[in-house]
Symmetry: D2
């Protein structure tokens, strides 16, 4: 298969795909097809599957494989697909990565193991990861210490960039992280190989991050078209229009960015938009109340009103 | 002194006061006067001092006393003043509380000790607190597990409301916390004594929280007049206008709400607005870069543009 | 299959089984047989597999199944086998549990999901677990907040005992936890159904815990015969002899109880004793240095000297 | 005052002093005198005050000053006194350090601020600390990530040793930390300035740590004479006798090393030995039950029996 490979030129929006379930909790592969088409119609540049917001850790091994296969078949190389392979054991991580790459993935995303208390430990961990994966597997580093409790300094990240050419992307998701992003970009201006930087956190700081040198977003906001258009406008020099559009959605971005319940809200929006059949989140997970639904309805209608006024 | 006492009817905006420092790092009491007048001019209903964002833990004991005295003298009973008294030792907590109340404070704010792993421990801790303070000291419970790592369920909070009449206010600052707020209000509808609920987190979810029954905000956003007006409009039934105004500021609310650097940004806005002489934050603490300043300038100008368009 | 069912009368030593690997890192099923026979020869009352110290989270799904099957075949109902089924997703947890029970396990062990901040959340989580498993699956509650960051009070544990007859055992592993154990036992004296309590933490406080009402240990110390004999002596009233024997091993118990490196030390002792072929720990994991080996050798020889002097 | 200065040649046992309280909870300065004489009679090489186990964070500012003055007067330069000055604010830290040094302290002990997630942050923090203190103030680095949640790698610690001559001592208290200690000592063999290393954690691994190059202990075990004698024997080449003596006390060392309740047990032993008037621990803090007392009595009597048998 002539697969796209993830590289440092990646940009735009890599959507973090939800994983759709049927009402009985089983994997919903028909919704998977629909969801992928939905994402592609919104103009995403890439798709990331089996991430944290994809409930990867709640899938059985055969479900992960089935979902991954279905997504790759459906995408059929229209855009690159990145696969989250973080795992408590390195053997499992390597095995998932090789399965994904063989099936046509463009690269893998790896977050550090939980609670690596020093950068020395973090560096040692990623040396094992990169050496085990080998140079042929492009890697996106997921920097999400809010969940992993493993924090990396810019100096240590730069060391990894220097040592491992297969490290081609940073998923920038430390919070707060604006100054970190500036420091990563300064290193590239000072001569370090420039990697792609896509931002996470639901896109909550997207305009500020684009201004500081991000290449786009890798996140799962349920209106991917906004992310796509904000990045496009920004990159063609229309910062004010980009930020106006972003701000029109900001109340909803902020709402969906709540930890935990945010995933249920996101899936509910995708359901309302017809992208998936149910908003089902696997247990243990949040359930929306009637108040949550009404609140979401109001927020969506306000966004629509904002858009009309633009 | 005929002092106001904090009670369950509190509402509106209790501003979390910054603590102003001079360029040499010493306490700036002249700026303190100016800042208090600034807050009062914006229409706040109360003032909270020596909170986490007031850098209370970086003040020497004599500095805390000097600052508290100055604030109470300046306010002169125009609005109630709440004093943060959380401390690693209960003797210190009680001592600070009695000093504050003798000097004219309206009540005290207490967060749980750090890392109380069970609600049983949390309940035991607050029983000691309430019994040590006595019934004459009105208490605001600061529910901020992001920092304290001590989380309380609604059932346990309700137990404290039942057992201790001096518990008159909840500073609602769990994140995410919308469903918790609804549950607290449901308890009051079901017959529990109704305490005041003021929300924190920089006001990031203020409209949603007002809709779910909050009485206002207790936070330190550098444009208190927005918080004041949003609460006022909401309470007189103009929810859409309230939310429109809120949304005009939301990009800045979100920006200032970043942990750590947010305090430096907030003090810089207060400085630009003439409320304090320097934006100095005590070490260890964040310093703003030129990029940070430019970004803030852009965000402020966009808010101003939004306001003009309203 | 006429399987033993775990119940409240369990006592003695349920050894936490290591998972043996070959030098190339693959599952070593021949060593598995040897290790199981080794444990049984030391007189253990039960065997617990796929626990945290069994590196369960580093096994692929097919490896877990192969290991579990091999152990159950080898044990062949000579003692009850408990299977760790904790998982980030409840569907996976239920699936593993039913696989294990169908294959002849005596019960399952479940630790709470990570970071449940309130007992209300913990209670809700376990209600889902118990209801999903059903009454026919005996459960051991693993209380290990050092790793799970989910702490349970005695009152909440007692609530679970009251509500779910299938909760038959507590793996007592909070640290420190002596007063908690006393409180659990007091509840049984006051009329609550008495569940089995087996202690963890490498057995570091075993004599004190037996004195407070523990029924034995569920831990993986590499000299199970000591644990077995200490429990036996204690229960027949020879507390001093039990504690003398325990103290002879205490320097090694304390050494093996170190987080992280302790597992590598434990597997190395098992290797030296001929119970497994290699001391291999799956990556990411600790490696022993020459100094570590010498230190271990000295500690073992001192234990042997202590035993000779008894 | 011709004061001793802490330097790299420090060795033996620096006892972490308890802070004695009267039954009414006030500071007990008479017991302070008695306790200091008790420690000196046991042969300690130094005394550390206002550490975490000294309940420093529960003292009012004037109490800290009064206690410190009393200890320094009583010690009267017989041994060096190290003062814990860790504080959330650097101004407070510097102020306490200068007060202590002016009053005759030999040096100060500093732990990193809480939750410094990267070594880059940790290095930046300590650069501020060392530059603010100046070269004339000898510093002991307290490496206790179990409490501070700030972990330092050996490379970063070595960097501090290289850059700051006033860093003369490591309080080695990471757990587990044996390989870290070996790495610190290897650096000194490879040419780095050799600093004193005293171990904490109640001395739980003292013999192993001496074998790996520790110079003694800095901890508060209630039988300081054991620590003193173990270090003395070890350093004169009698490792077996040293370890025999250590092992005789190990059941009690392990018992007192429990977090939280350990401090109450330690103060109770000191009370029973006549060193302080009450075992009072300031709230919030643990209270011993009758069972706790009996258990402690049994453990002490077993240690005494062990000593008789030697």
């Amino acid at each position: 298969m002539a697969t796209q490979r993830l590289n440092e030129q990646a940009e735009g929006v890599f959507i973090i795909s939800a994983t759709p379930f049927a009402a009985d909790g089983s994997l919903d592969l028909q919704s998977t097809d629909r969801l992928i088409e939905f994402y592609l119609e919104q103009g995403v540049s890439g798709i990331t599957v089996l991430g944290m917001m994809g409930e990867a850790h709640k899938l059985a091994a055969d479900e992960s494989a089935a979902f991954l296969t279905r997504v790759l078949q459906r995408v059929a190389d229209r855009v690159p697909v990145v696969v989250g392979v973080s795992n408590a054991g390195l053997d499992n991580l390597f095995s998932l990565a090789h399965t994904a790459m063989s099936a046509g993935a463009a690269g893998v995303m790896v977050a550090p193991a939980t609670g690596l208390g020093t950068e020395a430990k973090l560096l040692a961990y990623f040396r094992q990861v990169f050496e085990g994966l080998g140079e042929s597997v492009p890697v996106c580093y997921q920097d999400y210490p809010f969940v992993t409790r493993s924090e990396i300094s810019v100096a240590t990240f730069n060391q990894l960039v220097t040592d491992y050419p297969q490290l081609v992307m940073l998923k920038h998701e430390e919070w707060p992280g604006l100054s970190k992003l500036s420091a990563v970009r300064k290193a590239a201006r000072d001569g370090l190989r420039r990697v792609a930087v896509l931002v996470g956190n639901g896109g909550l700081y997207l305009p500020q991050e684009l201004a500081r040198g991000a290449d786009g977003a890798m996140t799962g906001f349920a209106y991917p078209e906004m992310l796509v258009e904000v990045v496009r406008l920004w990159r063609q020099g229309e910062q004010d229009r980009a930020e106006d559009l972003f701000d029109a959605y900001l109340p909803l971005v902020r709402h969906e960015q709540q930890p935990g319940v945010g995933l249920a809200l996101r899936k509910e929006v995708l359901r309302r938009r017809g992208a998936i059949a149910t908003a089902q989140v696997r247990a243990p997970g949040p359930q929306l109340t009637a108040t949550d639904h009404d609140e979401l309805t109001r927020l969506i209608s306000r966004v629509e009103k904002n858009l009309e006024a633009m």
